[in-house]
């Protein structure tokens, strides 16, 4: 009937472990016999009599404690700030920029502390687009290992003495270098220019400013220099592209301004719109972007040029480069040529390579298609990623050679960690006379500097931005600085240049300076209004740049085995490695948490003798990979879709390798709490740092030749992939092609579930599911509200932003790697990733069922299609969980919600056992106090606790919890409507997941409102309900995934069914 969907190779092959675990919702239960026969039991320290004493004492203590209510203190403000109402949230507009992602955001504060971040859909060119890192950044504010005092030589020091020392060092030095990440702040640029003028005068060369990003895009800028004569990166508009060809650019996850591109991309993926884009991806590691592509070619990193050359050739050009392709890539490339020929200038070709030559070929192809002026805008260049690789390379060489500048000022960079030769740089750094780091943590670089000057967190400071030409934006503080001795980086620069004096904790130096910059830029504009909107439109000068062919630079060389270094959705470049939410975010593709690994195609793994299946007891093989003379040992993860003879390793891991204080959650923890320590007594980092494998030629390149060792033992992996299986009910995912959707009726691509019944004549007839009811219906139809969710599988890209937003909104605890490995992660919302093979689903119904095996799906398993499916509580109107609760702790509301009363729950777990969607989570421990989670759960930290949402209960041990459909938000939406004596406006109510979704894939609303979007979505032809045949009548709808592909097999499977078309 439809494709076969599988979550992992274990499921596809039905390994014995998989079969065993899929029948157990709560794995690893010991029987009484097993427990008593445990030999270690005799060694336990608690004797029976002691146990009874404890028992008696606790009962007595609990009884006594319950009798007397403690006196609660309440402290009102002395002077209440005007815009704070205790108990009510205050929202601020702001802007997020961490050197790698940029977005216009809204920050929710309660009693003046930020607790939630979402995208700003009304202002800013990112139009509400965010990624998991941005939503999770609110937790970074409350990290207790953030520096609160400036240090000199490792000891706390006063600002006055540090300022004096640095100012005089800068003045008397022969050479001063300022190394920063890309500065997009006009005010910071002005301050740096002032510094340059006062140190260099007109012509001097004492001071130089070098920009250096953890991940460089210099290749793109250099290619544009050769083709256009300007080192710029143009603006891309994916929403206008009918054909999108991406050569290893993960533009939905990490590439360039991905927060802007996700929203644009989603607009083109609507099957009901005038046209739907065709997306062809060529890549090495299966990425978020690749998983959404209509066609996907697997290529080695060195084949990127060949792909582009093949396309140029196919369109009648000549690249002058070899264009031989492997079969998988050829298949996709032919589709690309066909599509590009059709869409011509309404196409877009992007490349993620940092090789100048590859980018030049991309430019050439775009020029052939005449996309400059339609999907690519040269007059609105991107200011992000201005890394100057050549200058950086020279500085590093000088520093390593001990010939570095007298004074090295570093701001928001961590070269010791992110440089390929970071170790050598670290040695050279110690030889520099005066090294200064403006950094929030005493990280790998800052720990070695003579002075560390802690800056503000982004949520504590004023700043301005110009991410693109004409896109001026502001950020404002949402909390008074938490650290006693922190100061704005801008203020520090001004002070050291003698342009300002320190203003203390509530200093207005930076604010005044930014206001002055604003006044210079917009003489007539209102600053307060700009802060209110966080953005300020600006006129753009049309570009006069013209494309000219240039000599193609040197291209990457091929090797037997090649490595590709990529960024994960959660960890990115590693700056947020201390964020436990992001560490526990299952990777969108591999679903692995808390770890770094080597991805390899299972076909290759078998050939090399690695194990390709794993579960909570059976780990994966470790192996050693050598690239550029640097080697790391990591587990090998089987990733279908990985190009053959290649491996992928994520950047951003292995932070704090020398025990630097970069945050509590950045390190490995032991099974019962506490850190794993290495031989030197330092905390063990998570994963390994692979920046050392970055090749540094004309630009930094994130791919190269690799040698791979053999299996070296077994390493446990904590992945959510094998958990919560769906018991063989493959009807949960539905998919079709655009062609079928447009040319056939609903019975082909979205047939209703029917059951047999007897009609009045005693004949068997098929009747829709809605006619069958086991119980009396809840009175939720028509009356009052009925809240529902609709999820568009065509728009969902699987990025995981919703999951982090849910965690942030609903105080979901972090449990740590060991618990995730046991299948006890607590996320209320999970994003299931299904691999799809074009094979019939139900083996039992096949004619050749005796001889059939899914081994034939092996080719498909090499490069499978992917479907992402967010799954949360379905709030079934006939909820199976409600009927089995012995204490009525989970009940149904007349608004269609499946309610969970924590204080009633006694923890029988019957409900979770009975849930067909497996969305209930049990509190196995007291996460806010149990020692096992001390290092990972922010709720156990005095500072980290401040991120908790005061409107949502923090659950305790022994109770069940699950998605509440953000009932706190439903209640507050209703209340504001009632207070204002008006009806609820459709779209007013948003859950955390729908609020943060960058592609607007999640729609929530009142289903009883006939004009609502949710109503129309639930009734259109694409709407279906997961496991509808179970008859639980959920309040969640999905929209069938529509791919813009040609698929004969699927077309044969999905046939229209009409009267007389007999069921077989």
């Amino acid at each position: 009937m439809t494709r076969k969907y599988w979550k992992g190779l274990e499921e596809l092959k039905e390994t014995p472990e998989f079969i065993k675990h899929k029948e157990q919702e709560f794995p690893n239960q010991q029987t009484v016999e097993e427990f008593l026969s445990d030999e270690k039991l005799a060694e336990t320290s608690t004797a029976r009599r002691d146990f009874l004493k404890f028992l008696g004492f606790s009962v007595a203590a609990a009884t006594l404690a319950a009798c007397e209510a403690p006196v609660t203190k309440v402290v009102p403000y002395v002077n209440k700030p005007e815009n704070v109402t205790p108990g009510m949230p205050t929202w601020y507009t702001s802007t997020y920029y961490d050197g790698n992602s940029y977005a216009s955001i809204l920050v929710k504060t309660r009693e003046a502390r930020p607790i939630f971040i979402k995208g700003n859909k009304d202002f800013g060119f990112t139009k509400g687009g965010v990624n998991p890192q941005i939503v999770a950044s609110v937790l970074g504010l409350y990290d207790s290992e953030r520096l609160s005092q400036p240090t000199a030589g490792g000891a706390n020091a006063a600002w006055s003495s540090i300022d004096k020392a640095i100012s005089s060092a800068v003045k008397s030095a022969k050479s001063v270098t300022l190394l920063t990440n890309t500065v997009i702040s006009p005010s910071m640029k002005r301050a740096i220019a002032e510094m340059s003028v006062s140190l260099n005068g007109e012509t001097g060369s004492k001071f130089q400013h070098i920009q250096y990003d953890a991940v460089s895009y210099a290749g793109m800028r250099e290619a544009n220099m050769s083709n256009f004569g300007a080192r710029m990166i143009p603006s891309y508009d994916f929403s206008k592209a009918k054909t999108i060809v991406s050569v290893d650019a993960d533009f939905l996850n990490s590439w360039l301004l991905s927060t802007e591109y996700t929203g644009q991309y989603a607009l083109t993926r609507n099957p009901d719109a005038e046209w739907m884009s065709k997306h062809i991806q060529f890549e090495t590691v299966l990425s978020v972007t690749g998983s959404n592509a209509d066609y996907r070619g697997m290529i080695k990193p060195s084949e990127q040029a060949a792909v582009l050359a093949y396309l140029i050739k196919g369109l009648g050009g000549n690249a002058g480069v070899a264009s031989d392709l492997n079969p998988s890539a050829k298949l996709a490339a032919d589709q690309a040529i066909k599509a590009l020929k059709k869409s011509k200038k309404e196409s877009l070709v992007v490349s993620g390579s940092n090789n100048i030559g590859v980018q030049q070929l991309t430019n050439k192809l775009n020029n052939m298609l005449q996309t400059y002026g339609t999907t690519i805008d040269l007059s609105n260049p991107v200011n992000l990623f201005q890394s100057e690789d050549a200058k950086v390379a020279k500085l590093v060489k000088d520093v390593v050679a001990g010939k570095g500048p007298d004074v090295l000022l570093m701001m928001d960079v961590n070269p010791v960690y992110t440089l390929p030769n970071g170790d050598d740089f670290a040695k050279g750094l110690k030889k520099i006379k005066t090294s200064v780091a403006i950094s929030a943590y005493a990280d790998e670089t800052a720990a070695l500097c003579s002075y560390v000057c802690p800056g503000f967190h982004a949520l504590e400071s004023w700043s301005d931005f110009e991410a693109k030409a004409g896109e001026y934006a502001l950020s404002q503080p949402t909390i008074r600085p938490l650290g006693e001795g922190t100061a704005s980086a801008l203020e520090s620069l001004l002070v050291w240049n003698g342009k300002a004096t320190r203003g203390g904790k509530d200093s207005s130096v930076a604010y005044d300076y930014i206001k002055a910059t604003f006044a210079g830029k917009f003489p007539t504009a209102d600053f307060a209004m700009a802060i209110h909107n966080s953005v300020m439109p600006q006129a753009i000068v049309p570009s006069t740049l013209v494309y000219a062919d240039a000599k193609i630079g040197s291209l990457p060389k091929s090797a037997e085995w090649e490595v590709s270094l990529y960024q994960k959705a959660g960890i990115g470049t590693g700056a947020n490695a201390n964020n436990p939410w992001l560490q526990e975010l299952p990777d969108p593709i591999t679903k692995v948490t808390w770890d770094n690994y080597i991805t390899m195609n299972p076909v290759d793994m078998k050939a090399k003798g690695f194990v390709t299946t794993y579960d909570q007891e059976h780990g994966l093989n470790l192996t050693t990979v050598k690239v550029n003379g640097k080697s790391v040992t990591l587990p090998v993860y089987p990733l279908p879709g990985q190009a053959l003879k290649t491996i992928g390793i994520a950047l951003g891991y292995g932070r704090g390798a020398n025990g630097e204080k970069i945050g509590k959650a950045a390190f490995q923890t032991k099974e019962y709490g506490g850190y794993e320590l290495n031989a030197a007594g330092n905390r063990m980092p998570i994963g390994a740092n692979v920046y050392a494998m970055v090749a540094s030629g004309a630009t930094f390149e994130y791919a190269g030749a690799a040698t791979i060792g053999s299996a070296e033992g077994v390493y446990p992996i904590a992945a959510t992939q094998i958990h919560h299986t769906v018991m063989g009910r493959y009807s949960i995912v539905r998919e079709t092609t655009l062609d079928i959707y447009q040319n056939k009726d609903r019975s082909a691509f979205n047939p209703p579930h029917t059951l047999q019944k007897l009609d009045e004549h005693g004949n068997h007839v098929e009747a829709p599911m809605s006619e069958f009811d086991l119980w009396d219906a809840h009175p939720v139809e028509k009356i009052g509200h009925r809240w529902g969710i609709s999820i568009d599988l065509s728009s969902c890209i699987g990025c995981g932003t919703c999951l982090i937003a849910c965690q942030s909104e609903n105080n979901v605890p972090v449990v740590g790697k060991d618990e995730v490995r046991r299948g006890r992660e607590m996320h209320w919302l999970r994003v299931d990733r299904y691999f799809a093979s074009d094979e019939e689903a139900a083996v039992g119904t096949r004619k050749d069922k005796d001889t059939f095996s899914f081994d034939k799906a092996e080719y498909a398993a090499e490069n499978p299609k992917v479907v992402h499916m967010p799954l949360m509580c379905h709030h079934c109107n006939h909820a199976p969980c409600e009927t089995v609760c012995p204490v009525a702790a989970t009940t149904h509301s007349n608004e269609g919600l499946n309610q969970m009363a924590y204080n009633r729950c006694i923890g029988t777990r019957y409900c979770a056992n009975n849930c067909p969607y497996k969305v209930r989570r049990f509190n196995w421990f007291n996460y806010p106090s149990y020692k096992k989670m001390t290092e990972v759960n922010p709720a156990q930290d005095d500072l980290g606790r401040m991120v908790l949402n005061p409107d949502v209960t923090v659950r305790t041990r022994g109770v069940m919890e699950k998605c509440s459909l953000c009932v706190q938000r439903i209640q507050s939406t209703k209340l504001s409507a009632k207070k204002e004596a008006r009806e609820i406006v459709d779209g007013e109510f948003a859950t955390a997941c729908s609020d943060s979704c960058p592609t607007n894939a999640i729609t929530v609303g009142d289903w009883n409102d006939m004009k609502s979007l949710i109503r129309s979505k639930s009734e259109n032809d694409l709407a279906y309900q997961a496991l509808e045949e179970v008859g639980v009548k959920p309040n969640v709808w999905y929209q069938v995934k529509v791919r813009n592909e040609e698929n004969d097999l699927l077309s044969k499977l999905q046939v229209e069914k009409h009267e007389g078309n007999k069921h077989h």
Partner: protein, 446 residues
């Protein structure tokens, strides 16, 4: 238990106060009573009897005007509209130079009413001179921790033990006497105390059996009642750092509850007044007599208001007031004040009692007290328990479909689509909160 003792003391105190006040009122004439009421409602915001504040002190002000050679009746004209008086009388013009502000006009006051105010003011003793006796009742001083920890409970236990010992001793003596006076020597050796008891118990076994049954049942009932009282906050009355008289603010001065608890209409919490709200009035009103002055000084200390130098100024050294929370909701429950006050139109009195007459530190009013208040929904379960909440939700009606709230009108329209359910809801002539989902778990628990 200790708290309820204090309750008793406080209640005694208030009874004494009422008696005293009644006696005082009986002695004064009607005119002065009217004068007092008028003074408090019209003048007290700016004027004090014996002290200059926003306006000058009013004690013997008529004599002052007479001494200043003001025209006859000019002062009455001044009160009605001071600008008219200024035009007619040079002395009034002199008075009008008083800073900081000009006086409001009171054209509604009749001359005899104005005279009654002055009469009442002149009859007031100067608190600076007067001794503490005879003045208005003392504001309740904050309860000290010693009082709270009173050993009253232990006294009963000790007395009980003594009582039992006495009974046993008497019984023993009686038995000894009986043995001593008995003729039978066998008795003397055989019957111990226990044996004797057993004999008696056997003899009256029916009664003893019945008695034991009753005792056991009684103990179980008491035990369960006790268990049901666990964490019931009724009558809870913690001490407070400032002896704040609600009756003076809400009652005598008629300040609306929402003026100080101003987030009650906006937020889930009603809000403990912030010190800047107190200072709106107390910048001027610094107490008419010693005990009040002391309490108001505590506000000044919190606000950092320095009165030592004339007009007073803020020093910037603030010290937040740490109050003891009275109405503490049980854990895991969400309650929203604005929902009840703005949408439900519930009066504060329904849950907090009549603050206009509450002279003592705030306490959780027992439901029996709340039921006495006119207009309150009559409830039976203890205050601040879940039973109490849902009882009210089951009784209170929601006006839907009356055209006053578009939200409820829409709900009404949707309800009408199901006539059977509509009929069921309106069987008792009203739609209650519970029928609209007010009894559902996730309305308060999430």
């Amino acid at each position: 238990m200790e708290i309820s003792r204090i309750q008793l003391l406080n209640r005694l105190k208030s009874v004494a106060f009422v008696t005293l006040t009644l006696g005082f009122v009986g002695l004064t004439n009607f005119s002065k009573a009217q004068g007092e009421a008028l003074f408090k409602s019209k003048c007290a915001t700016c004027h004090q009897t014996h002290k200059n504040s926003t306006g000058p002190k009013l004690f013997q002000v008529r004599d002052k005007w007479a001494a200043g050679k003001a025209k006859e009746g000019s002062i009455i004209k001044w009160v009605n509209n001071w600008q008219n008086a200024v035009a007619a009388d040079p002395y009034a013009a002199e008075v009008s130079k008083w800073s900081p502000t000009a006086m409001s006009a009171f054209p509604d006051l009749k001359p005899e009413e104005i005279i009654s105010i002055f009469d009442w003011v002149d009859a007031q003793p100067d608190p600076a001179m007067a001794t503490t006796t005879g003045g208005p009742a003392e504001p309740n001083s904050p309860l000290t921790p010693e009082e709270e920890e009173g050993s009253v409970g232990w006294i009963w236990i000790v007395m009980g033990v003594i009582f039992i010992v006495v009974i046993l001793a008497v019984g023993g003596v009686r038995r000894q006497l009986k043995i001593a006076t008995s003729d039978n020597p066998e008795h003397q050796e055989k019957l111990t105390y226990g044996e004797e008891l057993r004999t008696i118990a056997w003899k009256y076994r029916l009664w003893v059996g019945l008695g034991s049954l009753v005792t056991v049942i009684a103990v179980i009932v008491v035990l369960f009642q006790g268990l049901y009282r666990i964490n019931v906050m009724e009558d809870y009355q913690p001490s407070q750092p400032i002896a704040f008289p609600h009756d003076r603010h809400a009652g005598v001065n008629g300040i609306d509850c929402k003026y100080c608890h101003n987030s009650v209409t906006k937020s889930k919490s009603a809000g403990i007044p912030t010190v800047n709200v107190c200072m709106n009035c107390h910048k001027q009103i610094n107490g008419v007599d010693k005990p009040f002055e002391g309490e108001i000084q505590k506000i000044y200390a919190a606000a950092g208001w320095d009165v030592s130098s004339g007009a007073g100024k803020y020093t910037g050294k603030t010290k937040p007031i740490v109050w003891n929370k009275v109405h503490v909701l049980p854990d895991h429950v969400y309650f929203n004040h604005s929902q009840h006050v703005v949408v439900g139109g519930v009066d504060c009195k329904q849950c907090h009692g009549d603050m206009k007459v509450m002279n003592e530190a705030v306490k959780v009013q027992p439901v029996s007290e709340l039921n006495k208040i006119e207009g309150n929904v009559q409830l039976t379960k203890p205050t601040l328990t879940m039973g109490w909440c849902i009882e009210c939700h089951g009784k209170k009606d929601v006006k839907i479909g009356d055209g006053k709230n578009a939200y409820y009108d829409e709900i009404h329209r949707r309800l009408k689509k199901d006539p059977a359910l509509y009929k069921k809801y309106y069987q008792d002539g009203k739609v209650t909160v519970s029928e609209l989902g007010g009894w559902e778990c996730a309305k308060c628990h999430y």
